[in-house]
Symmetry: C2
Subunit: 172 residues, 2 copies
């Protein structure tokens, strides 16, 4: 994928996030705005309920803190589904689909997560590569609620600058 088409896709997905969050850019990925309830003293932010129609199961909930302008990439899981929300700070998540039988093989997608405009849940299916970086001056809190417990060797990693993924974090 050359730079032009990469930019086109990123611009397209950025637009989707802001204007049409229910559209799927990579097969199996779900991006949906979730509720923020105004409360005196600070809002309540929904994330995941067992009664959600699309609830997958609960394996673990944990947090990944991201220092300003830091990047954590690349990783994918073979079995576990990732579900991200960012209650504090702001993060860009980049996804890359190289699943051989995927209808969206070769697609890159980028999502902004963070309050108040982009308080949303991003679901990343197994075998889709993901990485994320902080966009703002404060530390970001990425909450991840996964559907099955952590299993050693169930995930794979690539270095930040891997040539296998047509995206450059250094240009972010």
């Amino acid at each position: 994928m050359d730079k032009v088409s990469q930019s086109y896709l990123l611009d397209k997905t950025m637009g989707l996030n802001e204007n049409n969050p229910s559209q799927i850019t990579i097969s199996g990925v779900i991006f949906k705005h979730i509720q923020e309830i105004p409360v005196k003293g600070g809002p309540v932010l929904h994330m995941i309920k067992s009664s959600d129609p699309d609830f997958l199961g609960f394996g673990e909930v944990y947090f990944s803190l991201v220092e300003p302008h830091a990047v954590k990439a690349w990783k994918r899981h073979t079995k576990q589904t990732q579900q991200f929300a960012v209650p504090h700070g702001c993060i860009s998540v980049v996804l890359y689909d190289d699943r051989k039988d995927s209808p969206t093989k070769g697609q890159l997608a980028k999502y902004l997560l963070g309050r108040p405009e982009h308080y949303a849940l991003l679901r990343i299916p197994p075998l889709v590569w993901y990485g994320f970086g902080s966009n703002c001056k404060d530390v970001a809190v990425l909450a991840n609620c996964v559907d099955i417990p952590h299993v050693p060797h169930e995930s794979e990693r690539l270095p930040l600058d891997s040539s296998l993924i047509p995206f450059s974090w250094s240009k972010e």
Copy 2:
């Protein structure tokens, strides 16, 4: 409970948090330090796994943001167990036990939650009153992972300055 005994209990529980977190001050309450894993770009903070020996079940995970020096109090649930962790900012949680058959009826307890010294999980059983306030200059993120989904009218509230609970938030 007079001011002297209230202070004594609060001092005692503050000491417990810092020095002996496994001790229980109110029957059914669990306070335990949870793992923070150093990672380049920002640490990973554990919260709850379905494989934890004391896992209760998963109902919902959500966030309550607490503005600097704001207080949210008082509330208790009749069925749901609350499980708090604070991945960003710092919070004081005050508990009050007026369960008629509790061995710790009448006890107040206070816990500090927040990184790095007090990154911990606080489990609050049904029918124990709780309130929390931010202690620091930045907004705090309180994550709550409850064992059963939200049910309307399953919780009760008292005003911040209720005389039924022998604790004054205005002195905090």
